[in-house]
Symmetry: C2
Subunit: 315 residues, 2 copies
């Protein structure tokens, strides 16, 4: 219902004038975010948002087309809060920051959006930068757990979301990755963070709903464990304490993923294409600055015209 482009207008319009009293888009969005922060995504209903603001349910529909578009607006609003990050951090976070030094490095890193520490032999600066933005996304997800719960592939990005995407993609310029691989890496990391955040939310939600902690609940499933004796691998891992001191799921996964990306980057770096994609003649690498792709200005222009004629979609 309704043209999605209206959502674009809503997301990208600037300089909202807030009326003295009464409702406004900004007030609705902020109230919805507060509500979702405390009650989770399924605790977020149009009725509750309206109640919190002291208006009737249907009044909201004068400002927001529907719940879905409200979610889009909430997401982009949340993507924009990075300045006040350090201030509100310690409220909910105590597990996620294992080493304060690391967290600080990440905070300074995300201020510029791209960290380059050239004196680090094995991995180039891209790895630190990519890790930094991943951790930043992680932090945002932890502060607003409902973010990971919002599903769907047709969420319009607002200015803040696009800026964030741009920042992630930018970390990988300078590597020899192909464009499609840059995009794939960023997507993969994004989905990873989302998935990890999602399982955390689900644990929290079920703990709050049932009043029983996750550990306790699984600990009480003796009737299940009785039946696991005949599975040798599970039994051996159990006996050797595999479940007693589990790995930190996010840290472990992040490291594996970055390692995997690193091998790809190395692979591409080794077999870096030394020929001009337009005429095929070998090109001498640029001594400094941005690595060159074309052998000459003429080839660069030819490639540009070719691209311009046959434009493709972003599907």
């Amino acid at each position: 219902m309704g043209n999605p482009d209206d959502g674009v207008e809503l997301l990208w319009r600037e300089g909202e004038r807030e009326p003295r009293a009464g409702l406004s888009l900004g007030r609705i969005v902020r109230a919805a975010i507060e509500l979702a922060d405390t009650d989770g995504l399924d605790g977020l209903s149009m009725r509750k948002v309206a109640d919190r603001l002291g208006f009737t349910t249907m009044s909201l529909y004068r400002h927001v087309p529907g719940r879905d578009q409200l979610l889009d607006l909430m997401l982009d609003e949340v993507m924009g809060e990075r300045a006040t990050e350090r201030a509100t951090e310690q409220i909910t976070e105590q597990i996620t920051e294992p080493a304060p030094g690391q967290a600080t490095a990440q905070a300074t890193g995300q201020a510029t959006g791209q960290v380059t520490e050239p004196e680090q032999p094995p991995a180039a600066g891209w790895r630190a930068a990519l890790e930094a933005v991943a951790r930043q996304t992680w932090h945002t997800c932890r502060r607003h757990p409902w973010m990971a719960e919002v599903r769907g592939t047709r969420h319009l990005p607002g200015p803040n979301a696009v800026a964030h995407y741009e920042r992630m993609l930018a970390t990988l310029t300078g590597t020899a990755l192909r464009p499609s691989e840059v995009i794939a890496v960023v997507g993969l990391l994004g989905r990873f963070v989302d998935a990890e955040a999602l399982t955390l939310v689900e644990i929290q939600r079920e703990e709050r709903r049932s009043g029983v902690s996750e550990e306790e609940w699984w600990g009480n499933r003796d009737s299940l464990y009785e039946r696991l004796g005949q599975y040798p691998t599970i039994t051996r891992l159990w006996e050797t304490g595999g479940w007693d001191h589990p790995e930190d799921s996010f840290e472990f996964g992040l490291r594996r993923l970055l390692d995997g990306v690193e091998t790809l980057v190395r692979e591409r770096d080794e077999s870096r294409d030394e020929t001009c994609p337009e005429c095929g003649t070998p090109l001498e690498p640029a001594a400094s600055g941005r690595p060159r792709v074309y052998c000459s200005r003429a080839c660069q222009q030819r490639a540009y015209r070719r691209r311009k004629s046959g434009a493709g979609n972003c599907g």
Copy 2:
């Protein structure tokens, strides 16, 4: 509501006697699976299941405690179907199998549950085996897209799910990974497959609901693309065709993940602990068969007694 242990009983009880007519647990579960296969998870309601079987809604509650437990039962039922895999595969699958040779290798691999191809210099057999089970999970998720939609961290595993878990864990025995790392790798891969399957489901669902294909929908968002000109990285990736020929999300991610795991395995293999964890004396490696952990039968026994005295939970 209701003791979770009742769910365990429901899942693990064997030899269901099916009545001639009327309802039964098995019939309900199978009807629910069929329904979810076609309508998705949010198209699965108790009303529709009952309608499909020709009974009233509330009649289901005589056999299943509630919707959540029904989901648990559905999941385990689906985990059990591996024999008829090749038969039903070509119905919905055409994208997921890029190279038939690869798919065949995977199919034979999952038949035994553990593939070992000792003549492969860089990666040991664990990698092929792990890839095989990951692909198997992927196939199951593609055949029953609602699987990935089922969320929550307190789903009781039935016999089929446990067998599958056992199989995944078993692929990594023989590597020098620590127990907690084995578990973490399997969990990471599982969440990855789920996440990838989930985004595919979401695309399908929105395509069916709106009648507009994903590509088409994003292609029509010109009002959005107008505003992206000022983002240099996005613009450059766009112009160099990064979105024209995107990577296969699952294949790309799987390779990165396996690469990441491989570096960890290598790392652990290099610094493989050459000393007995009980007495610290160096132990000579076993010439063949399962790599030895203890220097002597005496130390092995001592470690066993120590474990037995201090048992820990599986939280």
